[in-house]
């Protein structure tokens, strides 16, 4: 039996308590970085294996599936797994200096432990084939994130953490109830088994309750409008390095759960179409895109601006999924990857330059183009990617998104998408204008280390690379969505 899936979860889980014993900040950092790197290697091997030979199932303790717990590494899992761990690794490299200055000395080793646990949670969610385990991993990652968020060095951080705790718990409770109802109805928790047992019959009342609860829980996780408030506050008050990390991972996990639950587990009864849920979610997402883009334009604080931008981008992803066509799914998966890279890169620049600022306003970027020519050109490339100009990965996302919408039943919403995508240009351009066309203020932007700069350059280069060569993102996304829809059509 291939041991890779379980190793990816267990390895960091084992290292975490060891770190508690090591305590020395330097070793703790190096060890977490090492584990993170090792994980990426393992994932790459696993990815290649899955890509060539199809799903890899791993029975924990060799207990057979419906009774025992099973891990299921398919292409979708691997895609998200790679994304999450890659982002974690990049943020770890770039975050070292920031974490040292933002987090209290005594807490630093705890911070890294929480980070590893959080990542274990994320990896677990995408790997598990057991829906209750999905909930458990979700809780692991949430609990760890509460700690991570609370470590921001200003007062509102704790408040943000508590809010995140409350809202996150509410979301989790909904998901837990939904799982409970499913269990009562079918007597199983294994996802494959579930999807078989749900069958194709009519939907009972309790089942529809479960669907509704899943939707709310996942909606909170993915910051689906109007459940997006927590994301704005978290992104504004959490330590910036955590924001960089979460912007590429935590919300994407929500997207993963959405895909898993609604397109995989429930695929036989197709609840999204059954209750006209598609129209509802599309409608909400469209309003979400419009409003959050408008809010983003109005923001003077960059973190809030980018947070609203994230809500808008996540709505694009959800809209693409809700088209319920293979093209739509492909577009959404491409955008998941591209947006993570762009947003993490943008937040990283803010993290690097403004360690000590509580609020980073647009004015703080005045004239930075002269002071940091290279870093700012990377930042501008990422912004252009966010706008979706050609030769950046954002353009590829936009191309497939619009192409999918035009070919679907909802072709008329393409106007909204195009206009909001142009509105993205408004707020991105505000920043570019400040960077290059304003006189420099005498704010002290902090000095970046080479590692940090390298991370940003790498992400910017990746933004361009993925905009020119799409074989990686498009190739895999297309295969995933074809797999999905071929099973659905059977």
């Amino acid at each position: 039996m291939n041991q890779l899936p379980v190793l990816i979860i267990v390895l960091p889980l084992l290292i975490a308590p060891i770190l508690l014993l090591v305590r020395d900040n330097r070793y703790v950092y190096n060890l977490s970085l090492g584990v993170s790197f090792l994980n990426i290697l393992l994932i790459l091997i696993l990815f290649q294996d899955v890509y060539q030979n199809g799903n890899i199932l791993y029975e924990l303790g060799s207990w057979k599936a419906p009774i025992g717990i099973r891990l299921n590494a398919d292409l979708l899992s691997c895609y998200f797994l790679l994304l999450i761990n890659f982002m974690a690794f990049i943020c770890l490299i770039a975050g070292n200096k920031t974490i040292k200055s933002q987090v209290e000395d005594d807490n630093i080793h705890l911070f890294y432990i929480a980070w590893l646990l959080c990542n274990v949670g994320f990896s677990g969610i995408v790997l598990t084939n057991d829906i209750f385990n999905l909930f458990v991993f979700l809780e692991i990652s949430s609990l760890a994130s509460y700690f991570l968020i609370s470590q921001g060095n200003y007062k509102a951080s704790s408040l943000a953490a508590i809010q995140y705790l409350f809202i996150g718990s509410i979301g989790a409770v909904f998901i837990l109830f939904a799982i409970g109802i499913l269990y009562v109805n079918t007597g199983t928790l294994n996802m494959t088994d579930l999807s078989n047992k749900i069958g194709s019959g009519s939907i009972s009342l309790s089942m529809s309750l479960s669907i509704a609860m899943f939707l709310i829980g996942v909606g909170i996780k993915t910051a689906l409008f109007p459940l997006h408030g927590w994301l704005i506050r978290t992104y504004s008050y959490a330590p910036s390095i955590i924001v960089s990390y979460f912007s590429g991972t935590s919300t994407k996990i929500g997207i993963y759960i959405l895909l898993r639950v609604f397109l995989d587990i429930f695929n036989s009864i197709n609840p999204l179409e059954y209750y006209n849920l598609v129209q509802l979610i599309l409608f909400l997402s469209l309003i979400g895109v419009l409003l959050s883009t408008l809010y983003a334009i109005k923001q003077n604080e960059i973190k809030k601006m980018l947070a609203y931008s994230s809500v808008a981008q996540l709505s694009y992803i959800i809209i693409a999924i809700m088209l319920l066509t293979p093209d739509g799914l492909t577009a959404s998966l491409i955008h998941v990857f591209n947006h993570s890279i762009i947003k993490t890169g943008l937040f990283l620049v803010i993290t690097i330059l403004f360690i000590n600022n509580k609020n980073v306003s647009i004015d703080d970027f005045s004239g930075l183009g002269e002071k940091y020519p290279l870093l700012m050109s990377a930042f501008v490339i990422l912004l252009l990617g966010l706008i979706g100009l050609p030769l950046t990965s954002g353009f590829i996302s936009k191309w497939y998104l619009i192409s999918a919408i035009l070919q679907s039943d909802y072709w008329y919403i393409s106007g909204v998408i195009l206009i909001t995508s142009f509105m993205t240009f408004f707020y991105a351009w505000l920043l570019i204008e400040k960077i290059y066309f304003s006189a420099r203020l005498n704010h002290d932007a902090s000095v970046a280390t080479n590692y940090q700069l390298l991370c940003v350059y790498f992400l910017a280069a990746l933004t361009i690379y993925l905009g020119v060569d799409t074989s990686l993102t498009f190739g895999i996304s297309e295969q995933i969505s074809n797999n999905f829809y071929s099973t659905i059509n059977q």
Partner: protein, 479 residues
């Protein structure tokens, strides 16, 4: 390596060189050298065009099935000579112009100027719509720093307007038009006769409108406002980019889309060309009326450009062989005439500080050569013999007769009258009206500044007697 790709790479390399040197003193010389080399490239490419025509070079597969790819076609050959030839003239002009007007930060100017020309050449070489779109966007972004080059508040506001118009229309109309075309036909390659094998009229109507609005660089109303905004830029930028490279790229893409994406048959059979004719005619007339009321020389020229561009669009949309000939001829001739006008305006502003038509009294006594050149340019714009403007208008009229859209004669005649009535005061004032006040600076011509304009004027005059080879080239290869 392909010669087309190496031309583009050479220009990119040139930008890097200017960036690395970054010396105020000799970036101008380097830039002139780059534009000269680019012209040599263009001429060489034309000398071996028979080998290059319709040979596609794929560079990278951006979207599976749609590569970034270059090729050369006959329409491109014409635009290639015009843009690169005039670029050299404007480079020589701008070196002296920037010096006399004491502009700072010359390297920045030349970097983005070269980048703009790289994008223009990229548009010429594109062999499919996606490649065109990529260079179209690069051109927009690259010209922005030039529009805002003065750096004052007015230019930043205008620059923003410029970007919002051009980027906005390209994102909201042009991009979906391209994607929709791809969905309908499964290809984006330019092909003689068009790529639509089967179609329904509604789709064609929608697409035509999307392309018409989306390619806002051709300044067809209602999305023309960016062009007057762009006039805050230094004169060489207005001259080369906003009378030749940028706007002609727009018209060039329009021509290629109408002829090689839709194809003449599809447009005539669906009747979609009527939409284009209506918008273009409206633009021709109303821009002339607006131009009448502009006192600022550059703004008057800008509105004149808007009208002249729509001549080309209109001529294309009539779809008769003669009118397409007129469109291509006017693409060349308008470039020559308008660049003379803009550069003359630049000389006048530099030497005397005059920026408005109402101040041009008796200018010819101070700047005799410049005024002569301006007059030639103006007559080309009006379309009177013995200038090349007359030739393109002649074929346009023939095309209209041929297509039996006789009501368009009214549009042409009315606009010619309007053209005459806003260009004539400029000529009349500078020659025949007495000066009311003194000029601030030296009153004689600056020969280094006038030299490139004289050359353009010379070519424009000679060309009137030598149009047959161009007409032969166009009728043999394009129509």
């Amino acid at each position: 390596m392909s010669i087309l790709l190496s031309h583009i790479l050479f220009l990119a390399f040139g930008i890097v060189i200017i960036y690395l040197l970054r010396k105020e003193a000799f970036t101008g010389m380097v830039a002139i050298f780059i534009s000269l080399a680019s012209l040599v490239y263009a001429l060489y490419i034309i000398s071996i065009q028979d080998i290059l025509i319709n040979q596609k070079i794929d560079i990278v597969n951006i979207i599976p099935g749609i590569p970034l790819s270059f090729s050369l076609d006959y329409l491109g050959v014409i635009f290639l000579v015009i843009s690169n030839g005039l670029w050299l003239m404007v480079s020589i002009f701008s070196e002296r112009y920037l010096e006399l007007n004491k502009y700072q930060n010359k390297p920045k100017f030349y970097i983005f100027f070269t980048l703009s020309m790289l994008a223009t050449n990229g548009i010429i070489y594109s062999s499919n719509l996606l490649t065109t779109f990529i260079f179209y966007e690069i051109l927009t972004i690259a010209t922005y720093p030039l529009v805002t080059f003065k750096g004052d508040k007015k230019s930043i506001i205008n620059g923003k307007k410029y970007l919002y118009y051009l980027l906005g229309t390209s994102i909201i109309f042009f991009l979906p038009a391209i994607i929709f075309t791809y969905i309908l036909t499964g290809t984006l390659d330019y092909k003689v006769g068009g790529i639509f094998t089967s179609y329904n009229n509604t789709a064609i109507y929608i697409l035509v409108i999307l392309y018409l609005f989306g390619i806002a660089k051709s300044a067809v109303m209602p999305f023309h406002k960016w062009l007057p905004s762009a006039m805050v830029a230094p004169t060489p930028v207005s001259a080369l980019l906003h009378a030749v490279a940028v706007v002609k790229s727009g018209v060039f893409i329009m021509l290629k889309v109408f002829l090689f994406i839709f194809g003449v048959d599809v447009l005539t059979q669906s009747g979609a060309n009527i939409i284009i004719i209506l918008f273009a005619s409206f633009t021709i007339i109303s821009s002339s009326f607006i131009a009448l009321n502009q006192d600022n020389i550059k703004l008057r020229l800008a509105y004149s450009t808007i009208g002249q561009l729509s001549y080309i669009v209109l001529a294309t949309a009539i779809l008769a062989p003669y009118s397409i000939l007129a469109a291509v001829l006017h693409l060349i001739f308008h470039a020559l005439g308008k660049i003379m006008l803009f550069l003359s305006a630049g000389i006048i502003a530099t030497q005397t500080g005059i920026k408005n038509v109402s101040e041009m009294n008796n200018l010819s006594s101070k700047l005799p050569i410049t005024c002569l050149l301006m007059t030639i340019g103006a007559i080309i714009m009006i379309g009177l013999p013995p200038t090349i403007g007359f030739i393109s208008k002649w074929y346009l009229l023939l095309g209209i007769m041929e297509s039996e859209n006789l009501y368009l004669l009214i549009v042409i005649i009315l606009s010619t009258l309007l053209n005459a009535s806003y260009y004539f005061p400029m000529i009349y004032k500078s020659y025949f009206e007495k000066a009311k006040f003194d000029y601030k600076s030296p009153s004689c011509e600056d020969m280094p500044l006038a030299f490139p304009v004289i050359i353009v004027g010379f070519i424009a005059v000679i060309l009137f007697f030598k149009t047959d080879f161009i007409i032969k080239f166009i009728t043999e290869n394009i129509i």
